[in-house]
Symmetry: C2
């Protein structure tokens, strides 16, 4: 099945090639007809001239339907007015299947209908572009950590204990016991740094959240670096370097996709270090200055995040949070023990939190105290406490939600389009 | 916290540097003592000479214990006899924590004990090396597909239907219904090729297998490419190119680790295309020639695989299997419909199957027939059947188990050491 891909077409100008793919669109003007053809790597216009092909080939112009699978052969020509800058002078067409009544047509469809047909909707131009950006976001994330001396240490999906309460956890029947689907690899990565210094994990995480907002999925992917001998400031250095790398990579490698998505890339181009760093207290002041009736100690809601982030032209890092509201493992600020050394990174343009992280408590006895204070069971944390007994070190890390990041970079409205097969409270199929 | 890593030490010869890490070993000879020190990226010997440091620093030689966390500063010297070729003339030491009674000592420990202490065992030299190889196997896998025009299209972990029977599936309480943990992303990837042509998915997969063999885990990672317009032969081309790339990458980038693991790399160096391709029938003949009492139609056991693979100096691809024993979605051989166009790749040296794959049935009506024949419910397959209605194409793919591949490349005995936190029927912790 020797053939080439549309993404490589420029190298074949003037040559005869074969392409495998699907019909996107057909348009006829008498003795010539045009086919927009796609092969998964791009689109190209094919031109069929009556005098240049057999009658059987020419007649396909009135038979071929959207999404029919075909192999086409012909000569590559430069044609600046055509999609992608090239066109194919078609000489032969082999039909694999004529598709009849493809359900997704150029007319508008409702979201439920499109989601029910996600297995086909993925073929649409915008959805294709979003998944391509997702691919590059993930590639850039992995490359960043690989190139900066981090070791990938995968953390388990199935875990034995509901360490932080069971409310948002999915239960799994695990032989004669119960397991839980992971919400984060962090605790395990804190073990891995003892072996590898700088590590990251990258995998699916789960939240049995009943939220139906456009920012939530029950299954989503996270990349989580964790770094030995790293304090909150250095952690923020890593976060801003990381995000800037990912955005920069996408600007360079997703030009076509961002154009298709009509993303205004102006704001993305500003994403370079240093990012503004404000304390939680300062962020609260911003809200008050903007007339928001905000209760000190609360977490920020979506609207609050939008107000805070709109003060800046790049992501803003909010650090030093009221400790009571934060997880038991967060280290307290030496200068003010009411504050935890956590950091949230808020994307610009109202896209909300894309990173959460912080410095971890590294003292054994303090951690025991916190576990008791949070009324958590001690036994499941024995291994975690071991890490504070045998060569504990200051350490920090963070997690970035891939889908939130893709939502922001693509500039789309709803997170569900950033993952190929989204899972929400009411959706497990297809 | 400005400091350098041992992996970069060569660039600092003659300079004064600071290293963060842990004590691996201490040895004293009167007025000099030596510390083997590790920081996650490597090991280095530090030398403390009584006349060159303060009394407090020198006294640490009798206080510092295995796994104590310390920051050391001193001058980098070339020293060919030392581990890694360099040593550090230590001038100062900052102790973060003295570790007392670190449970894993140089003496022999039982497997259960080590697995219970997996969070610490990961720090040991061999385990560190195995996880580094795993990192490179995963990196090479992703790079291979990225560099060959594949798009990463993640497939869901939570699925609605027990498509191929429920016996090996884990059940998840999903709000008011039941979900299942994925066993493979294949069916979804078959949808993704309609959008992207060549795709791969890469994630954790689950089998509720009660096997306790050294080849089985309940949670393991798989990389699964799927290719539109690809037949079995081309699929085998991809498989052999892929494996060769991964092995070649590891030979180049895991020299130190393979040395630590005492892996004889001679056999790995032979892993280059083309791989031998034998039919199932030919493989059965090999077994018979070797005196095995084998029933035609059965799957090969571990011992059978070892006999077959030992005939060759590189991985062997066994194709065209008795169809009845294979999955419903496998395409039949036109020349002999009793055979399915599947392929298993067996690693050399008795490491067994590392890849399973094949060409998929692309005809709608044939697939409906097979689903009925296998007594499977039709409704959950509606979306999958849609793929055969709207532009079906010949297509193929395969899956490689990461842990099996790492077991082979590292040359270790038990698969459980190839994943940071293994899950088996009796193990969910740490």
């Amino acid at each position: 099945m020797e053939h080439i891909y549309i993404s490589d077409i420029a190298a074949y100008e003037g040559q005869e090639v074969t392409l495998h793919g699907w019909v996107y669109n057909i348009r006829s003007i008498g003795k010539v007809w045009f086919m927009i053809f796609r092969d998964g790597t791009g689109m190209i216009q094919g031109v069929v001239v009556k005098s240049e092909v057999t009658p059987e080939i020419f007649e396909l112009g009135s038979k071929l339907s959207q999404e029919s699978s075909v192999t086409i052969s012909g000569t590559v020509r430069q044609e600046k007015r055509s999609i992608g800058g090239y066109e194919l002078g078609i000489k032969s067409i082999k039909v694999h299947q004529l598709a009849t009544d493809y359900p997704i047509t150029p007319k508008e469809h409702g979201t439920a209908f499109l989601m029910d047909h996600r297995h086909l909707w993925l073929r649409s131009k915008l959805q294709h572009a979003i998944i391509r950006v997702r691919h590059q976001v993930i590639k850039a994330s992995r490359d960043f950590f690989d190139n900066n001396g981090f070791t990938l240490v995968d953390t388990p999906i199935l875990t034995a204990n509901a360490c932080e309460g069971t409310s948002n956890l999915f239960n799994v029947d695990y032989f004669d016991t119960v397991a839980y689907l992971t919400q984060s690899g962090q605790l395990y990565s804190e073990a891995s740094i003892g072996a590898h210094g700088k590590v990251y994990c990258f995998g699916p995480t789960f939240r049995a959240e009943k939220s139906k907002t456009r920012r939530h999925l029950t299954e989503f992917w996270m990349v989580e670096p964790e770094i030995a001998y790293c304090d909150l400031d250095e952690n923020m250095d890593w976060a801003e370097k990381f995000i800037s790398y990912v955005v920069g990579w996408c600007l360079e490698h997703c030009k076509t996709e961002l154009e298709i998505l009509e993303r205004d890339t102006g704001m993305l181009e500003k994403v370079v270090p240093p990012f503004p760093r404000v304390t939680y207290d300062q962020a609260v002041q911003i809200l008050k200055d903007n007339g928001v009736d905000f209760t000190y100690g609360d977490d920020f809601g979506g609207a609050d995040e939008t107000i805070i982030s709109s003060q800046y032209d790049r992501p803003v890092m909010v650090h030093r949070w009221p400790a009571e509201a934060k997880a038991f493992y967060m280290k307290r600020d030496e200068k003010n023990p009411d504050l935890a050394l956590g950091v949230d990174v808020l994307a610009p343009e109202g896209y909300g939190e894309i990173i959460g992280g912080g410095q971890r408590e590294d003292d054994h006895d303090t951690l025991v105290e916190r576990i008791l204070h949070h009324d958590l069971p001690m036994k499941p944390f024995q291994w975690y406490l071991d890490l504070r007994k045998y060569g504990t070190v200051p350490h920090s890390g963070f997690g970035m939600g891939i889908e939130r990041c893709v939502t922001w970079i693509t500039g789309i409205k709803h997170i569900r389009e950033t993952i190929p097969f989204p899972r929400t409270i009411y959706r497990l199929e297809p």
